[in-house]
């Protein structure tokens, strides 16, 4: 039953919104790891369509391939096939500089994704230098302001920042090249709830200000429900269901797996889980 459901659900949004402009479209993406007998297919036939200015969520448990999809889009995984279109144009396996100006990624752990011996200033100005931007000073200051840090933080090292501040720096770095699409890989799961609220608000503000398109990967259904308008559920490397946020709020997912995920994120329910 889940198989037939997911096939229907996958196609539906694509037909319904074929008229709208797609910013990012993934068609039949497969990702493989390893060689020969060790070869593992981490992502199977994933097709997604993200609208211009939209916010698309991918949820799933560890090992479901959700982050791998993002990494393939971003060019961090080599061995993929299928098609990744940005603004209607397919991307190749080797990405050029223009690609980096269009898409940037924010990683999960702000404790691991910043170079410990580089100052905030160096982290932020490096992409500008690589891409030959002018006005480096002004741009660094503006972005620091955008993410709510201010000029005081410019010459600090990561160890002088809290987790939330580090994640703001990571977001600032992603914004340096003025990208149109941001890929967010569990951007708040290493943070406390109060800090998570601040970062999620920051994402909402930035999206409005800079007209960004988001693709967000997370295991937290409440976070995608807050951030995204359309949500894909992944399991074992496949998309089992695509639904819009309203369907999720009303607890009307089609597949049993999504039901279970949703139930689990609402809290512990002795009857539901004790019986299993």
């Amino acid at each position: 039953m889940p198989g037939s459901d997911s096939a229907v659900m996958e196609r539906k949004p694509m037909v319904a919104e074929a008229t709208k402009e797609a910013r990012l479209e993934i068609k039949d993406l497969n990702v493989y790891f390893g060689e020969g007998a060790d070869r593992l297919q981490a992502v199977r036939n994933v097709s997604l369509k993200v609208q211009q200015g939209g916010s698309f969520g991918i949820v799933g448990e560890s090992g479901s391939g959700k982050s791998t999809v993002l990494r393939a889009v971003c060019g961090l995984v080599e061995s993929w096939d299928g098609e990744i279109d940005i603004d209607g144009a397919p991307v190749s396996h080797r990405r050029d500089k223009a690609f980096a100006r269009k898409i940037q990624m924010v990683f999960q752990d702000p404790y691991a994704s910043l170079h410990p011996r580089h100052t905030v200033d160096r982290v932020l100005s490096e992409p500008l230098k690589l891409h030959g931007f002018d006005n480096v000073d002004a741009r660094v200051l503006r972005v620091l302001d955008d993410v709510g840090l201010g000029a005081d933080f410019r010459f600090r090292y990561p160890h002088q920042l809290s987790g939330g501040q580090r994640q703001r720096v990571a977001v600032a770095r992603a914004l340096m090249l003025e990208p149109e699409i941001l890929l967010l890989d569990e951007p708040t799961s290493a943070l406390d709830v109060s800090v998570q609220a601040e970062i999620l608000n920051l994402f909402s503000d930035l999206r409005k200000e800079h007209n960004l398109t988001y693709v967000m990967v997370t295991h937290d259904l409440a976070v995608v429900a807050h951030m995204c308008d359309e949500i894909a559920v992944m399991q074992h490397g496949e998309v089992v269901e695509v639904m819009d946020v309203e369907a999720m709020r009303q607890s009307k997912p089609e597949t049993a797996y999504t039901q279970e995920l949703l139930k689990a994120s609402l809290g512990y329910d002795a009857e539901f889980f004790g019986a299993a």
């Binding site: 448990e61 560890s62 987790g163 406390d192 709830v193 109060s194 998570q196 609220a197 601040e198 999620l200 608000n201 909402s204 295991h219 259904l221 409440a222 976070v223 429900a225 807050h226 951030m227 946020v245 999720m248 709020r249 279970e260 995920l261 949703l262 139930k263 689990a264 994120s265 609402l266 809290g267 512990y268 329910d269 002795a270 539901f272 889980f273 004790g274 299993a276």
Partner: protein, 286 residues
């Protein structure tokens, strides 16, 4: 009250640093009966230190101090290290966050469970083995024999955590301290592990201290909640009455959570007030 298993009075945990002494836990009092008590707080609130200090597991240079830590009417502070070893793992057990770091990687799971049992009770190897297999079955491991003979790296996170729970419960402790026992697990696995723990704790009439950062989870899983901020207890309430919480910190945490059922344009960011740090800790003894 005769039902009280553990009663802690005026607990302090301090860490001397170059910049002066840091108080991780600042004079808290609470009690636990045969119930599920949740301790919630953000990172750095002192919740884990509270759990560890019950077993006197604060490593130097950290220091702990308390008026009393009464367990079954006896003050654990009067115990020698040797006597404490009889308490740890036997009367009071602790499940840690990540099974990857809490299981010994070079011994089989079975050996580790048997060791836990044989350290505290006089049983033969054979009986220990049977007991371990039974316990593995009780935590709903489908193939206990196979898991008994496997090494920790051969198990998934959920399995590893079940093994940990089996190991901690095999000695039939009276109190279980679970420090973020399911935070490293996927949500659906998390719920299964919680259900197992819940069932075992209830069947054996144990007390449970459940330490977590997840307010939502704690309020649905525990009977009573203690909310900690900056080393103090700011509020305590019945889990079912959490939504009526009055302290601005608790309210702030609740409002900062995105909720599936109630969409909001913006999440409320928590406005911390310095006065919260100065407030007197709430007495959470029943």
């Amino acid at each position: 009250m005769s039902d009280t298993l553990l009663s802690v009075e005026d607990l302090w945990v301090r860490f001397p640093t170059r910049a002066g002494t840091v108080d991780a836990v600042r004079g808290i009092s609470f009690s636990v009966g045969r119930e599920r008590v949740g301790i919630v707080g953000e990172s750095g609130s002192g919740k884990s230190m509270t759990g560890r200090s019950i077993l006197r597991l604060i490593r130097p240079p950290g220091q702990m101090e308390a008026k009393s830590i009464a367990f079954n009417g006896k003050n654990l502070l009067d115990y020698s290290e040797r006597q404490m070893r009889k308490i740890r793992g036997h009367e009071i057990s602790m499940v840690m966050q990540d099974p990857k770091f809490s299981l010994n990687p070079v011994h089989t799971v079975g050996k580790q469970i048997c060791e836990a049992l044989r350290l505290h009770t006089k049983v033969s190897r054979r009986a220990a083995r049977l007991g371990a297999l039974e316990m593995l079955e009780a935590v709903q491991i489908r193939n206990p024999e196979r898991v008994f003979n496997s090494y920790p790296h051969e198990l998934s996170g959920g399995m590893g955590q079940r093994v940990m729970i089996a190991m901690m419960l095999i000695t039939d402790p009276k109190l279980l301290i679970a420090d973020e026992p399911t935070s490293a697990l996927d949500v659906t696995v998390q719920m299964k592990v919680l259900a197992i723990m819940d069932k075992l704790v209830q069947e054996r009439g144990m007390g449970l201290i459940f330490i977590s950062h997840d307010l939502n989870l704690v309020s649905s899983f525990c009977d009573r909640i203690i909310i900690m901020y900056a080393g103090r207890i700011v509020e305590t309430c019945k889990a079912s009455e959490l939504h009526n919480a009055v302290h601005p910190y608790t309210r702030g945490l609740l409002n900062a959570l995105p909720r599936i059922e109630e969409p909001k344009e913006r999440l409320e960011a928590l406005q911390r007030q310095d006065s919260w740090k100065q407030e007197v800790s709430v007495d959470a003894r029943v």
